[in-house]
């Protein structure tokens, strides 16, 4: 009895709302996507509560406090729950505030890439012709540029630091979004409802933003959700190579880089410093895994071949 009222209710809903409800239900049925979502939510809470969890000791909260200059890391203790890195930087503090840096990098870069991708993809796919040709050849060129090498050189050229890393990831990251959106728009553009809108005298801008884009942007949104994890990995790699923030900044890649010299323990205990090598990288991996599990689930849900089975 309940299901029939439920279904009737569904039928009277706005189609986009119904779609959203359907998506959420499928999303929550999949254990992997729930794990992914929980990971991201936990990291989100940690990032939001950073000032409460680890009150900053300097005016700049992203500077990790350190007690002394002893080179050897020290193992977890009551004072430092996750131990300290070299020069006694507190690991937990770095990881908690590093979560904020990670969210900032991932979200800023992906949103900016998405916006560039949408504008260029829309122009290329909707108008076609010479404009399309030019935009697509430029994306071809950017695809052929080796990403990591160019990113490194460009960060050094702009001036090292997290802001430079973000800027460079934006400059080099947009082509895949443009390409994906354009191909979806080419399909949507010739649908009957677009012809109808055109025949009824709608302007190009109106057709582009109210008719074409909403019906063509699923793939590019999925791409964006899959790319957040990847973006954070690349940013961490750049930091690891010494291009990101200064030593002692709460930034995950930077923390791993600070700990890379401790893979060999002491003669008596060969795993003496395992915690400095293991913990920060594990945190990055968990964060990225969370985003990837979520993105993967979203992709499966929207894949027309997998739908409504």
């Amino acid at each position: 009895m309940e299901t029939t009222t439920d279904q009737r209710h569904l039928r009277t809903m706005h189609p986009r709302l119904r779609e959203l409800l359907f998506t959420t239900r499928r999303f929550l049925k999949n254990p992997l996507s729930v794990i992914g979502l929980s990971l991201v939510v936990i990291f989100g809470i940690i990032a939001l509560l950073a000032p409460v969890l680890e009150p900053p000791k300097y005016p700049d909260p992203y500077r990790i406090p350190h007690t002394g200059f002893r080179i050897q890391p020290s193992p977890p203790s009551a004072e430092h729950p996750l131990g300290t890195m070299q020069q006694q930087y507190d690991m937990l503090y770095g990881l908690v505030w590093g979560a904020r840096s990670a969210f900032r990098i991932g979200v800023v870069v992906v949103v900016a890439n998405l916006l560039i991708g949408i504008v260029l993809g829309l122009l290329a796919g909707y108008f076609g012709g010479a404009l399309d040709e030019v935009i697509m050849r430029v994306t071809d060129i950017f695809f052929a540029i080796p990403f990591l090498v160019m990113a490194m050189a460009l960060v050094v050229a702009i001036g090292r630091g997290l802001k430079a890393v973000i800027a460079v990831l934006i400059i080099l990251g947009w082509p895949s979004y443009t390409r994906v959106l354009r191909s979806d728009i080419l399909v949507t553009r010739n649908k009957d409802f677009i012809m109808a809108a055109r025949a009824s005298g709608a302007s190009h801008i109106r057709i582009m933003f109210t008719h074409v884009l909403p019906n063509a942007m699923y793939s590019v949104l999925i791409l964006a959700s899959l790319n957040i994890g990847n973006t954070i990995l690349t940013a961490a790699a750049l930091s690891f190579l010494g291009l990101g923030s200064e030593t002692g900044t709460a930034d995950w890649g930077q923390i791993v880089s600070l700990c890379r010299n401790w893979i060999v323990g002491t003669p008596t205990d060969r795993f003496a410093y395992w915690y400095v090598v293991f913990i920060p990288g594990f945190v990055i991996a968990l964060f990225v895994l969370g985003w990837n599990l979520m993105g993967d689930a979203v992709r499966d849900i929207f894949d027309p071949r997998m739908r409504r089975r």
Partner: protein
């Protein structure tokens, strides 16, 4: 469109893309003021600003950008790529020294990556929705999420730091002495192959031994994509009518999977394998830095960190060329293997 005109068109497009790549790299390097572009060649604090200006004038770094670009391109066609400080040699010599080290690792790692991806991917598809399938899917997502540098460090910590096996760097000192000590002919410049040709087994053993960990690192990180693609492509081909036909004709399960399903499912994997191969070269940046192998990835990292402009520009052009050529080859192979793909 005939095959010939297709290839001609693609070659023209390729040249266009490469010219574009050179323009973009050049423009990005021009963001640096002339002083910073010569800075790496100067390593003494006794250099006065006047001497710097003299150097800038000598290399015409204050000329209008189009002129500098034209000079760079003409030099490239003459085979002159400038001097690389990070290689302490002319760029081309540096390339000849570093490239074989990376190529060797790619030649070991690429087959491992493709094999792992294809086998685990098709296993997942055949056993769809069983624990095996779930396990391989989770494995792929986890492999996707691991930071390259962290996995490398962990492998080194466990194997080298704890167990004392699989040390980093390309060759041990003793073997290095054999290789660079005369009486060792560099026929192919690939150390392992040269070791076989020179009948020096310690060289072969040492070189292969030290490639195990880096190629394991590359395999874990890169087979995920192929694994997932293979799974979905295999699922698709398992559902095709010809599978039903083959089953009706009495083919056993083994033949069905190996001869009919897997062979057809391999097609999309060809594309992604080509791209993986091209991208491995830039993946080398981190893997070689961590495992201390002085290959092209290590060189690129050094060049970028120290702003060795001539090396950066050469490397980007080289990797761009590899990418475009591999893409063309992949498309041609694709059209050759699958007659349904029309060249367009």
């Amino acid at each position: 469109m005939s095959l010939f005109s297709y290839i001609v068109r693609r070659l023209l497009l390729m040249v266009l893309v490469l010219v574009g790549v050179s323009l973009v790299v050049f423009a990005m390097m021009m963001l640096l003021p002339p002083g910073q572009r010569v800075a790496i060649y100067v390593n003494s604090d006794r250099i006065t600003p006047a001497m710097m200006d003299a150097m800038i004038a000598k290399y015409h770094l204050n000329d209008p950008a189009p002129m500098q670009y034209a000079r760079w391109i003409t030099n490239i066609f003459r085979g002159e790529f400038g001097y690389s400080i990070t290689a302490s040699a002319p760029v081309l010599d540096g390339f000849k020294r570093f490239f074989p080290v990376s190529l060797e690792l790619v030649l070991v790692a690429a087959p491992l990556i493709i094999l792992t991806g294809v086998l685990l991917g098709s296993l997942g598809a055949v056993r769809k929705d069983t624990p095996v399938d779930h396990f391989t899917r989770v494995l792929a997502i986890v492999g996707f999420s691991l930071p390259t540098f962290w996995l490398g460090l962990l492998l080194l910590m466990v194997f080298y730091g704890f167990a004392g096996i699989f040390p980093p760097s390309q060759l041990s000192n003793d073997v290095r002495n054999i290789v660079f000590g005369g009486n060792f002919h560099r026929y192919t410049t690939l150390v392992t192959l040269d070791g076989i040709l020179n009948w020096k087994w310690p060289v072969v053993w040492d070189s292969v031994y030290r490639m195990i960990l880096p190629s394991l690192n590359l395999t874990i990180l890169n087979s995920a994509l192929i694994m997932r693609l293979m799974r979905s492509s295999m699922l698709e081909s398992l559902g095709q009518d010809y599978m039903m036909t083959a089953r009706a004709k009495g083919a056993d399960r083994r033949t069905l999977i190996r001869r009919h399903a897997r062979r057809n499912a391999l097609l999309p994997v060809v594309t992604i394998s080509g791209i993986t191969f091209a991208q491995l070269m830039s993946e080398m940046v981190i893997t070689e830095t961590i495992f201390d192998r002085k290959g092209i990835g290590w060189w690129m990292a050094q060049a970028a960190l120290q702003l060795d402009v001539s090396a950066i520009m050469f490397d980007v052009l080289f990797l761009g060329t590899v990418y475009v050529v591999v893409n063309l080859l992949v498309d041609l192979i694709y059209a050759w293997v699958d007659p349904r793909v029309r060249l367009s």
